[in-house]
């Protein structure tokens, strides 16, 4: 158990709005071990970004976080005040954001912004901070690192800025790094570079990583574990290869049909899509959240609880259908 970095049980986020109580995250549980990558997958609005902000303690003021367990390196995060949380942020838990173009302050040099992250947690060690910044800029593949320190964000491209953001997150040698769609805003060619970079660094520094994405192609390449989120709940989770080879939840199956597979998907063949929209997340919703979009929906879906069906190897899913039914139906041709 000593290798567990993060342990989350029944995390909920509630935001009071005019129409009632918005519940974008409805009781999710997961864990991250040292040196392990957990990918949280789901479409926009499923609560994955809010989950990452909740872990960092950076939720908007109106949002209320609750959990049965929220342990980081064995320390309970639930009772911590803003001051104690800010001692953890950037030091042992850090985050990379989606928007490299706007995530750096235009008024300060990148050297200033990198060193500041180190100095916050290591008071007065300016020379050390500078050395660390140069070391990490080289690590993230930026040439002439020492002279880059004097540059301003507007003098760097999007890809370079995201590299700077990664270096910044690593300044204090965190044990957990949360990357919220780190490649979404970048060119496809740069995306692959940044992903490989993240995966390499994560291995080298043995960090736990939570990678939040809606891109299953990314998941297949870097994840150890996958959690598929839908409407604030985890509908399926497990080791990456098991989920990809044997998707059990209709939503996971649908997501996987949305990506083309070279050799399997024929030219001219329509890619899958999931009809319908994510349900409104205000108030309590009974039963399965996915039932109004599910091709296999039955009356029993209304009675679905939170108990997941567990398979071997940590693979689990939340659906009324049993394993045999799913296996049998997924060997049949799928409705278009």
């Amino acid at each position: 158990m000593s290798s567990t970095v993060l342990e989350v049980h029944n995390l909920r986020i509630e935001i009071p709005v005019a129409a009632g109580l918005l519940q974008p995250v409805r009781g999710i549980s997961f864990g991250v071990d040292k040196g392990e990558t957990l990918c949280i997958v789901g479409e926009s609005g499923c609560g994955k970004s809010l989950t990452s902000l909740a872990l960092m303690g950076l939720l908007p003021k109106a949002a209320v976080r609750s959990a049965d367990r929220l342990e980081f390196r064995g320390r309970d995060l639930r009772g911590l005040g803003e001051r104690q949380m800010s001692d953890i942020r950037g030091a042992s838990m850090s985050m990379i954001f989606q928007e490299p173009m706007t995530s750096l302050n235009p008024a300060y040099t990148i050297g200033n912004q990198l060193e500041e992250a180190y100095l916050r947690h290591h008071r007065g060690k300016r020379a050390e901070a500078r050395d660390r910044a140069i070391y990490l800029l080289e690590k993230v593949g930026i040439s002439a690192a020492a002279s880059r320190l004097k540059q301003y964000p507007h003098q760097l491209s999007g890809g370079l800025r995201q590299r700077v953001m990664i270096a910044m997150a690593l300044m204090c040698g965190p044990e957990l790094i949360i990357a919220d769609e780190p490649t979404t805003a970048l060119d496809v060619t740069i995306q692959a570079q940044i992903l490989h970079l993240l995966a390499d660094l994560q291995r080298e520094f043995e960090m736990g990583m939570i990678l939040i994405t809606h891109d299953l192609g990314i998941v297949a390449r870097v994840a150890d574990k996958v959690a598929v989120m839908y409407a604030g709940k985890i509908v399926e989770e497990g080791p990456c290869e098991r989920v990809f080879e044997n998707p059990m939840h209709p939503y996971t199956q649908g997501l996987l049909r949305c990506i083309p597979v070279p050799g399997k998907t024929r030219r001219g063949e329509h890619l899958g899509s999931i009809p319908g929209l994510v349900p409104n997340l205000v108030g309590d919703i009974r039963g399965c959240m996915f039932r109004n979009r599910c091709p296999h929906a039955v009356d029993a879906c209304l009675e679905l609880g939170d108990t997941a069906v567990s398979l071997d190897g940590g693979h689990a899913y939340t659906c009324v259908r049993d394993v045999e039914t799913i296996r049998a139906s997924s060997s049949e041709p799928q409705p278009a």
């Binding site: 953890i88 950037g90 954001f97 706007t102 302050n105 235009p106 300060y108 992250a117 301003y152 507007h154």
Partner: protein, 305 residues
Amino acid sequence: MLAYTLKRSLVALMILIVVSALTFSLSHLATDPALTIAGENANQEDIEAIRKMYGFDRPVHVQYISWATRALAGDFGVSYHYREPVSDMIAGRIGTTMTLGCSAILFALIISIPLGTVAAIRPNSFIDRVALFFAVIGQALPTFWFALMMIIVLGVWWRWLPISGNTSWQHFVMPTIALGYYATPALMRLTRAGMIEVLASDYIRTARAKGLRPWKVLFKHALRNAIIPVVSLAAVWFGFMLGGSIVIETIFNLKGIGWLSYDALLRSDLPVVQAIVLIFASFYVVLTLVADLLNAYLDPRISVR
């Protein structure tokens, strides 16, 4: 940054030349200066003699060049009415106006920036409402009425402050408040709007994600970006205040530049009017230049554009 500074300075210089030409020609177009100096009962010969004496018979561009050359050396001629060198008249009064202008803009900034910041941190809170309340009042109250109220309450009823003259720093307290308060609402609302926008930006979230303390996020990362438009507006207000407020200077009997320009206009005292217009146009040009350079320092992207 050096190239940007040179470029902006060159533009400022060209504006100054245009402004001086306009100042010179406007006052010559408005009246016949020889006629004004000679007075109403002068005969044609006297007027012609005066025209020759003051050089008004020369071509306009020659007159402009000789006026501008002398102005550069600080010689703005002699007042038609008081028969005193204009530069002496201005030198004797500019101190009062400068003191009032500087203290009024400082007062406005010291009030508006913290208040705007606090209002932005908690939008629609009690403190935001209070700040808005005072802003609306400041915008709506006529300056002269507010100044008179202060005189009655602070000067006459409570006898805390002198109500007239410029002999001690206490004399400047009420004029400073009256003039500064006028600029406060706009500056405060601009600070508030800028702060709200900046506080919602991604780089503030990044700063918080590093674990930075709230005051550091606020003062290092947010305020520097939010203050940029405020700098430009404050420069304009400062220029306005240095121009001297006729109303404020009259009410508190501070015989500064505002009062002098009013007097000179009434008497068509052209050399005085020209000198004042030129000096304050120059102030504006210099202030705008300083604001531009300050903004380029605050936001390094500006000098690239």
